[in-house]
Point group: D2
């Protein structure tokens, strides 16, 4: 049994949670439109990046604080708890004021100052697996957070780096039962980053539920072709609803997908 | 749609096929006992190794021709088509005389003399992905076989080698929709070798069906602790029946798991 | 030709630079003793960690500011410029006050807030390659730093993560000529982390010079068995002198390149 | 100390051996012209493929027996022992009649029927490391050969498969001292396949000697642009002489280790 992590009424470990939203919050209108579609699809939480890990100071850096407000307002309007990524420990208080859950991205899984900052609060954390990290290292990072007192931890498998090039990363679905066998953290997957290919998101989402994950996080965009980041892996808003139905239908069965 | 590959009435691409059996045929009694359990479980085909890829001339080398006879007899007795691995092109005629399907193992995915030999016949081939091979290379090996005239090809994802050590290999379930998007070969998975851990076989089998695989191949042993090879990843015969029920129940749903 | 990066008179790109020192500054006496041995060996710079990337709040965390003072004093006493790692952007001003060069570790190669902070200063940066990062991503991180105005960048190859387990990482010596072909940054290697095995440090140091690296960084300890971190890969102080002679003689003398 | 493996007077383990030649023997004139250049460069052995691991039945398959004769004649004419790859155990007697040393390629490192065949003879074997094999597995394959009585074994590191894409493979130079620490087999490297880039062959050849390898194998072609296979990684014949001088001078002279 997983521990339960409650995000304003959405309970990881107690229900199969679908988080959806754009890679980046691009404007008030964009996030409002997408949040509406997310709500209509039956997904339970809204995601959106406002601080982006930039590889160039000239690439899109995220909207920062205004983006946080847009995301918060959209979440409130449609009754969706929100999650957004934190990159810099100096932004913690700002981010924590707006969001319901803080995401730690793959590149920061071992950013210990950032982990300690969150560990010293009670804000729920979505801890992505490093793309080059073993399951054991991933769990160690979770335990590091927890050692400072914060027990509200959800893990997210997002693919590891291998020699295979037909997908952006290799989504390691074995990591779900392995992590569950070694801990009681809820574990979700991110098939969007895990594959990097929109056409692979649906089958890997279904497989994630089948293998025993507690939820999925899906990138969705009202206009993927013009997304400011990661458009190639984003579902269209109209595709999201069908996916949510598919994964919900899958759960009618009582199969013991957990590794005993 | 997959092409259909018919193995004495078991049709890959037309039904979800469960192949089960021991890593090695160890004796006439052993394979008879396991074959009976395989039949009772509802699985459709019987596997068993008689030529083993030896890393030492002192390790168990397989029973060779007597093993082929034991496997053939057990298959006949219980009405299960059989599949066994071929390692040496000089054994082709012997093996082809006994088996319904020839397996090419991970280490031989690019053994072109072996592939050509099978390609020049019509015997169905189960072509495992190399543990270090891309999906593209895997498909190229299949096309190489087909170029000699043999169209009876089924692919098998069996895990790739990565830095992760909690599993023996990393079962790459994304490869199923990727391979299906690029070809019409039926594709099955081998969760036993793909994880190397008996406790992970059930969840990854279910996920394999969910992601759209056409079948699974499962190692099973009446006494895994005393198996001559690969006992740690083998299910007990009594566990197999429950797994077959689980994967069969999963199929009642109509989800479009294939990558379009 | 490399650009020249001058660290208080030690010029990367102009001479073959040996940086040596302990993984962690453990006490004033320890760093003084090791610094003396580093100076006597002929190495040109002193390294020592004072903020450690902790995987547990209970493991050794580094001495922090007192450690910086000990390191600074030892560097001054023996005429060795110093380099130490920065983990948290909030520590930047403190660290920059003491050190001659700031190291960014493998886990932080894409920690953009940290990189931007250093980029907005002129302090020389030693940028380690991420253990899962391509050469292209490594160069992008260097260019990201430079885009804020800081040109004083030295790269450090420290091994990548692969399936091989006989070494802690796989030191990728091809990355030296590749990085030099694509940029003019000086590039050094870290054979201590790159192999994780003290007995492999000498041959890989010599190979690093042979392949065209601009220097090496070596972990050394007066008492490796009792080191607070990474003892297994540290050379003894008495081994360092012989290594410095070997790498210096490489262009004029026959050296025993075999691993002893 | 390595064991000594004597190939018609060229002694692995006793001298630094340079093997050079084309990927494929293409014609009598081609191999004669290249063999002459190889001899003039000071290299000691001639290589050339006559059976190629084909990924398509329509790609160049090697000249087969006529190629063996051309290679043998060129070796005799210029006093160079020859090495060529064996793919199929059924070709063993033919190949062994012509060649001085049999190469087992990366894809066949665990092809046990092939290894056993060579192990039952005394013909020297050049055993390449599998691109996905650990050093331990590589040594196990060598010990497997030796267990049948053949002690004339030379190992060849040829790069492993990693996530890095700027090189075709990652040449693992740490494997040289690791393999030497665990066995007494001579070990050479193949910087041509190990990097896949002609411009990287020289620095990695020099690094190979520096790290303690017993030799190198270099692809060379009189006209790389028109080579029937692997032209991108082949040196021109006129570049080979300079490289041989550089590696021979390594213990007595300053060499330009930078990649041009």
């Amino acid at each position: 049994m997983s521990r339960l992590v409650d995000i304003s009424g959405v309970v990881f470990g107690g229900e199969f949670v679908v988080i959806a939203g754009p890679c980046s919050v691009e404007s008030e209108e964009q996030i409002d439109e997408i949040a509406k579609a997310v709500k209509l699809s039956g997904a339970q939480m809204l995601r959106g990046g406002v601080f982006k890990p930039r590889t160039s100071p000239y690439s899109f850096q995220g909207l920062g604080e205004p983006g946080l407000r847009f995301l918060r307002n959209a979440g409130n309007k449609y009754g969706l708890p929100i999650v957004t990524e934190l990159l810099d420990p100096r932004d913690f208080e700002l981010v924590a004021r707006f969001t319901d859950m803080v995401q730690i991205g793959s590149r920061n899984m071992q950013n210990h100052p950032l982990l300690e900052q969150i560990g010293r609060s009670k804000i729920p954390i979505l801890l992505k697996r490093g793309m080059n990290s073993t399951v054991e290292e991933w769990l160690n990072s979770a335990r590091f957070v927890e050692s400072f007192g914060n027990e509200n931890i959800v893990l997210c498998e997002r693919g590891i780096r291998t020699f295979e090039t037909s997908t952006r990363n290799t989504l390691d679905l074995s990591s779900i039962p392995v992590a569950k066998g070694l801990s009681d953290y809820p574990v979700i997957t991110d098939p969007s980053h895990g594959t990097g290919v929109a056409g692979l998101v649906a089958p890997l989402s279904i497989a994630s539920k089948a293998v025993g994950a507690d939820g999925i996080m899906i990138e969705v965009h009202s206009n993927p072709e013009n997304a400011l980041s990661d458009g190639a892996q984003a579902l269209k808003t109209e595709e999201l609803g069908r996916l949510v139905v598919q994964v919900n239908n899958l759960s009618a069965y009582q199969y013991p997908a957990r590794c005993s």
